[in-house]
């Protein structure tokens, strides 16, 4: 399965991507625990180090760059747990990835029902 690109706007989370993404996904998996979420909030940089994120992953995290996180091997299911820390839902995250406001993104969803 191609890692990247033959379906536009879609990154397949396959073996090579999951290998690259492992530290980032492992960190986000830890966010199932409230104490881990608190530890992250207290010192994000230290928390990146704890899970040995790559520089690419740290940069994407620092900039809250969702596409960057996906390109660094992030899995949306674990990234969603990070979005939870920021108080973002999947429409907010949808907007961030598509360059829309949350309201524009919601309208885009509705429009697809009109076919």
């Amino acid at each position: 399965m191609a890692s990247q690109g033959s379906i536009p706007g879609t990154i397949m989370l396959d073996g090579p991507m999951a290998t690259k993404g492992y530290p980032l996904n492992k960190m986000c998996y830890s966010f199932n625990n409230a104490s881990a979420r608190d530890e992250f909030r207290t010192d994000e940089e230290a928390y990146y180090e704890k899970f040995k994120l790559t520089e690419e992953q740290k940069q994407a995290m620092r900039q809250r760059d969702v596409i960057g996180m996906l390109e660094a091997g992030g899995s949306i299911y674990y990234l969603a747990k990070f979005a939870g820390i920021l108080g973002l839902n999947v429409q907010d995250v949808g907007g961030l990835q598509t360059g829309m406001t949350t309201d524009e993104f919601k309208a885009f969803l509705v429009k697809q029902g009109e076919v």
Binding site: D14, G15, P16, K26
Partner: protein, 279 residues
């Protein structure tokens, strides 16, 4: 193209690790066992395989019965050994290999094998004892290992016909990999033994020898056994024969036996060392 150049069967019992850690190889108890190994080591040193695909069973280090896979395989670049609770020394990390591993994983799932795929896993004596037997002094860091773990602990376990099919599918996957890699397959564990119950200590030498013969010439014939048959004929832990069968499945070419050493007892088991060339 990657190529499987051969297969090895070997015991993986923890007592071997203790014997090596304590330098007992030349004592009367151990000598006939360890004397079997130099020809296999020499062959490996001559052939210089890049990758070892190692069939073993986890004995409760990585997997517990909360989530027990039938077939698990590693796709990591490194694997760690760890304290197993009863005093065999922890050994240095094992080098992994993720590209061929993922290629095999993709191919297996496509072929209808429902693998549990592990990006991080601890490997126990089932894997580390064979490595240390082949490269004593923990000199195995240069060889890349792909761990394939088969449930031999809790019934229901995969049947011999299924483990042979798994081995065959892995053989096909390796041969469809583009890079020029030399691969050797290890089937570890067995042979006849029973640790538990009033029947503890049961060993069936004749059955073991027959299995080694069949592994060379007619592996399909071993798939007539159910796991129940294996327990009856070889003892409760003789289901570990499934790892040897999976190894043999991966050898899809013309197979020649280059070496064999059967010795019993080692600890409570019949120990079968065999080297097969695959052309």
């Amino acid at each position: 193209m990657a190529k499987i150049i051969g297969g090895v069967t070997t015991s993986h019992i923890p007592a071997i690790a203790n014997a090596m850690a304590n330098g007992l190889e030349e004592t009367p108890y151990w000598k006939p066992f360890f004397d079997g190994y130099p020809p296999v080591r020499d062959w490996l040193n001559e052939q210089k395989p890049d990758v070892i695909i190692l069939f073993y069973n986890d004995h409760g280090l990585e997997f517990f019965i909360d989530k027990k896979p039938t077939f698990a395989m590693g796709v990591a670049d490194e694997y760690y050994n760890s304290d197993e609770g009863w005093g065999i020394p922890t050994i240095p990390p094992v080098t992994g290999e993720s590209e061929l591993s993922w290629h095999i994983a993709n191919s297996l799932v496509e072929d209808g094998f429902d693998m549990t795929i592990c990006q991080e896993m601890k490997v126990d004596h089932g894997l580390t004892v064979p490595l240390n037997l082949m490269w004593p002094g923990h000199n195995y860091g240069h060889v890349k290992v792909i761990p394939v773990c088969i449930n031999c602990e809790q019934h229901p376990m995969p049947q011999p016909k299924r483990t042979l099919a798994l081995g065959q599918a892995i053989g096909r996957a390796v041969e469809s990999f583009d890079d020029d890699l030399k691969v050797v397959v290890f089937g570890t564990g067995g042979m006849s033994h029973q640790l538990d119950g009033e029947r503890a200590g049961f060993i069936n030498r004749a059955f073991d020898i027959e299995c080694l013969d069949k592994l060379v010439s007619d592996p399909e014939s071993l798939t007539k056994y159910s796991n129940y048959d294996l327990v009856e004929l070889g003892g409760a832990q003789a289901v570990e024969l499934n790892m040897l069968i999976a190894m043999r499945g991966a050898l899809l070419g013309e197979v020649t036996e280059l070496h064999r050493n059967y010795h019993a007892p080692i600890s409570n088991t019949g120990s079968g060392l065999m080297l097969l060339e695959n052309k």
